[in-house]
Every structure is written in C-alpha cells, then in structure tokens.
C-alpha cells in the first residue's frame, strides 16, 4: 500500500470521526492545530486506523502522531 493510499484512507477516517473535509487532510497538517481534531477524536482516529490498516498503534505512540505525515509514516512502517 502506497503512502498516497494510506493518506486517502486516513483522510476518510478523519472525515468520518471529526467531520473534517477529506481534502483538507494533507501530509503537513497538524491534527490538533490545523485540523482541530481533539484528543478524544484522535483516539477514535487511531482505533479506526488499526481496523482499516491492520496495524497496532499503542497508547504510548499516539502522542507522537502530531501531523498527518507522522501517522501515514507510522502506518507504512508498521504494516
């Protein structure tokens, strides 16, 4: 799965969880500062990513996923 495919899947999840337009979910965007995804929505995004991409994202890792690129790279590396 390419980074582009992961980004598209992640954007769909962020849209579903937080109601943010998928096209605004771009690599350089910060979940909290740019996309206004709060800490609880971030947990829902992470749980949905685990289901969708078949990866495990432990609690201790969630705080390191600041930008969309952080999440895409983590998923790509752990798939």
């Amino acid at each position: 799965m390419s980074h582009e495919d992961i980004l598209a899947g992640l954007a769909a999840i962020v849209n579903e969880v937080a109601g943010i337009p998928a096209e605004t979910v771009q690599m350089e965007k910060s979940f909290v500062d740019d996309l206004d995804v709060d800490s609880l929505s971030m947990v829902e995004v992470v749980m949905a990513c685990e289901d969708k991409f078949g990866v495990t994202i432990p609690d201790t890792e969630v705080k390191n996923l600041n930008t969309v690129a952080d999440a895409v790279n983590y998923i790509a590396a752990h798939k």
Partner: protein, 331 residues
C-alpha cells in the same frame, strides 16, 4: 458427613423501587473552567457536560446515599425494617472502615439489615445488581437496597484539566426484591488490574496520612476512552444476547455517565435501533461514578421517558478497569 440446610430459594428477582438525591448547589462550566484555563464551550465539546452538582460541606457520600435509599424504599412501598441487605457502591466514603453501608443502614433505620460496600468504582452499581440478583434467588436475602453514591468533589484537584470538569456529586438507589418474574438478566462482568493506574486515587490513604497530602483522582483520559469505546460495545452485546431479548425490545440504553463522547461512540458501535432512548443525564449531573446509572434511570422515569416494566440496558465501567452490564426491567 453432615448435610447442612440451604436457604429456601426465590425463583426470581427484580427492581421494585428507585430513588435519587441530587445536591442543591449547581456548579456551572464557567465556575470550573476558571481554574483549568478552559471554557464552557471546551467542556461541552469534550464531555457533553453543561453543569453539575456539588454537595454541601455538611453532606457526605453516606448522607446522600441514605436520602436516595429512603426514597427508593418508599417508592417500593416498603418500610426500612423490611430491608435485609444494604449494599453501597462508592469510593468516596469518609472512612476506610466501617462501611458506608453500615452508616446508611443506621441513617435510614434499616435495623434488620446486613450492610457492606462494593468497591468497583464506576462499575459498582451494575456489580451490585448482579450480586443482589444472586443473593435473592439463592434465598440469602429478600429485600435489598442498593445505593450508588459519591462525593467526588472532595477528591478533585481543581487545577487538573483531565478531571476537574468531569466529576461531581450525587446518589441513586434501587430496591431489589423477590418477584414473580425475573427482572434482572445475567450479569456480564470483569476487571483488568494490569491497568490500575489508568484511573486511581493517589496518594494512597496510608501515604496521605503520613504526608498530609490530600488524595486526588487522576485519570489517563485517552487510555480510558480507548478501553471504554473499544470494549464496552461488545460487553453490551454479550449482556443483551444473554438477556433473551432483542435490541428492538429495549426502551432505553443507560450507560455509566462517564462522558457523552464515550456514550456516543458506544452507541455507534452497538448500532442500536433509533427507538432506543439513550440516557444523557451527564449533561446536567456530570460524572457521578457509582451514582450515575440510578440517577440517570431516575431522570428518565421522572420525565416519563421510561415507565415501570420497560427493559433498559445498563453498563458500568471504570477504575480497576472493572465493568459490568445487564438488562433490567424499570422499577
């Protein structure tokens, strides 16, 4: 070898009385927000809470619990002397010993009752329903008053952004008795002590006694949210499957009022029919731990949204990562 007698069993147990006690003082989001660099809007978005209530200085978990218990006993049409077990679910009672239940039984005049506490935090009320069901059907008890009561405001750090706006005070109670038809479904329950630091009151009371540093509740919010949202939907499905009724038969879903975001996420996972009312008492009550389910039941019944005999799905979950769920018929 001698053969000992066992009690004469009862064929069924159910809820026959309900009572609540909400302390007088309303605490707004603005009042709480000042200490945590927050706002009314921020608190509503993250928890659904609009306001909560705090008990007065002269009130305790036991005194509020007694008020709720007395109302539940009156609602059941019983006298306090008819009660043979007083069970209290709480973690904010003033004394390590004796129990809050002993104090409650004295305050309400339940002079014929045994009394003990349940330590299962926010799952305590649903734990208690399961225990009460077993005590009655086994013949050990006939009329039980089960109380959930908390004075959490005494154990809050008002500067902690993770907890200060969530927790509040109140009490609710039910009477469980031998009935002609079963009103409590099999209890699905469990706990995971490996995560005991996820929600904890620290320092422990021994340390607090030595250092004179007060104990406060701390919570790893994201971790608890993930556990509750990831697990409680399946626990509810299991409880419903064991109850013998379908989701379409439910009148209401009354989860522990932890956080409206958790409730909404569980509801999404459960895929409940639109007709099922979802309890949202947290909006005006906050998270009252062991008291939240009977308080929410009382709010739904008082407003006419549920009536006697209606099946409601209950689930409690919290510290110790203890959880319990069952279906009950509304008293």
């Amino acid at each position: 070898m001698s053969t000992l007698k066992s009690p004469t069993t009862h064929s069924a147990a159910g809820l026959i009385g309900l009572g609540a006690y909400r302390p007088e003082r309303v605490v707004t989001n603005d009042e709480v927000a000042a200490r945590i660099d927050s706002s009314d809007e921020w608190i509503r978005e993250r928890s659904g809470i609009i306001e909560r209530r705090y008990a007065g200085a002269d009130e305790t978990a036991a005194s509020m619990g007694a008020a709720a218990a007395a109302r539940a006993i009156a609602d059941a049409g019983l006298q306090p002397t008819d009660i043979d077990v007083v069970m209290v679910a709480t973690f904010t009672h003033r004394f390590q010993t004796p129990s809050a239940a002993a104090e409650v039984s004295h305050l309400i005049g339940a002079t014929n009752a045994s009394a003990f506490d349940i330590s299962a935090a926010c799952a305590g009320f649903c734990y208690g329903l399961g225990i009460a069901d077993s005590l009655i059907r086994s013949g050990t008890a006939k009329n039980i008053v089960l109380v959930g009561t908390e004075k959490l405001s005494d154990f809050l750090n008002p500067d902690d952004r993770g907890t200060a706006f969530i927790f509040a005070d109140g009490a609710g109670a039910v009477v469980i008795s031998a009935t002609t038809t079963q009103g409590i479904s099999p209890t699905v329950w469990g706990a995971d002590g490996s995560a005991m630091d996820a929600i904890i009151m620290e320092p422990d009371s021994v340390q607090a006694g030595i250092t004179h540093e007060p104990s406060h509740i701390t919570m790893q919010g994201q971790r608890v949210f993930r556990w509750a949202v990831g697990s409680m939907g399946d626990v509810c499905k299991d409880a419903l499957a064991q109850s013998g009724i379908q989701a379409t038969d439910l009148v209401a879903f009354v989860p522990h009022q932890a956080n409206l975001r958790i409730t909404n996420a569980i509801v999404k996972h459960l895929d409940l029919p639109e007709s099922v009312i979802v309890a949202k008492d947290i909006e005006y009550t906050g998270n009252t731990s062991a008291a939240s389910i009977p308080l929410a039941l009382d709010a739904l019944r008082s407003s006419g949204q549920i009536k006697t005999g209606d099946p409601v799905l209950l689930v409690g979950f919290g510290a110790g990562l203890a959880y319990a769920a069952q279906v009950a018929l509304t008293p």
